[in-house]
């Protein structure tokens, strides 16, 4: 199974992102694509904000003491120059 994403330009000049999943049984390839443009835009905004350091992002583990392992990673983010905020509050 392979997966990748690529960008297409539509007739009216707009770009759309497609996410492809392809599968081969050895003889034949089957492929399916989904339009993921909206998700891609949200992701890119977030990553750009981090890259430009407008948004400072951290992660902090949550530990299961019985199993002795990290069960979750909490994502925390704050806008530069602001006391506190969280990933999504900053985007709002």
């Amino acid at each position: 199974l392979v997966g990748f994403e690529n960008r297409f330009r539509t007739k009216d000049g707009e770009y759309r992102w497609l996410s492809w999943h392809a599968y081969s049984d050895g003889d034949m390839w089957l492929a399916a694509a989904a339009d993921v443009t909206e998700r891609k835009l949200v992701t890119d905004d977030f990553e750009q904000a981090i890259a430009e350091e407008r948004l400072l992002a951290y992660r902090q583990p949550i530990v299961d003491w019985r199993a002795g392992e990290v069960v979750h990673e909490e994502l925390l983010a704050r806008l530069r120059g602001r006391q506190n905020g969280h990933v999504l509050s900053t985007a709002g």
Binding site: Q60, I62, V71, H72, E73, E74, H86, V87, L88
Partner: protein, 167 residues
């Protein structure tokens, strides 16, 4: 955001994301988020959304709706900073929550304040009876960690078990 979550999740762990009252009230943002979660195959089951009690308090109807919709997609919901809002028990009853995160100010008192220890123990046993998991926030020293084990807390968070690290 979702992709970032997926990347972090590739180590097999779940990812917890905070929702503030502002993000809950921001309808467009919530719609985008819910769509993004719906589009990311397999990601929903590894996402936990944390709603603080004060955020839930500010907009209980909105908080419940968001929690229910994310829950239907397969995400877990945690009630964050538990004990700091008014009507904490009402939130526990009325929100579709699987995880209760006990606020650091109760955890900080576990070592020296019998009242705080009793409260933490009580919340842990109440949460268990409701089929929920508990997290102690702000665990900073060994003695507190040991006492929290005795209180039957499931999971720990704080400087003792892991500092926040920049992404």
């Amino acid at each position: 955001m979702t992709m970032r979550g997926l990347e972090l999740g590739d180590n097999g762990r779940n990812v917890a994301i905070n929702l503030s009252s502002r993000s809950i009230a921001g309808t467009d943002l919530m719609e985008e988020l819910i769509q993004a979660v719906g589009h990311a195959n397999g990601a929903a089951a590894r996402l936990i959304f944390e709603i603080t009690e004060t955020a839930a308090l500010a907009n209980i109807g909105g908080a419940r709706e968001v929690a229910e919709r994310l829950g239907r997609l397969g995400c877990a919901i945690a009630l964050d900073d538990f004990g700091t809002g008014f009507a904490s028990l009402t939130h526990l009853r009325d929100l579709p929550v699987q995880i209760v995160k006990i606020d650091a100010r109760f955890v900080a008192g576990v070592r020296s304040q019998p009242a705080d220890r009793a409260l933490v123990q009580g919340v842990a046993s109440m949460a268990r009876a409701l089929g929920m998991r508990t997290v102690a926030e702000g665990v900073e020293d060994e003695a507190t960690y040991e006492l929290l084990k005795d209180c039957d807390i499931d999971w720990m968070q704080g400087y003792l078990v892991g500092r926040p690290t920049p992404i």
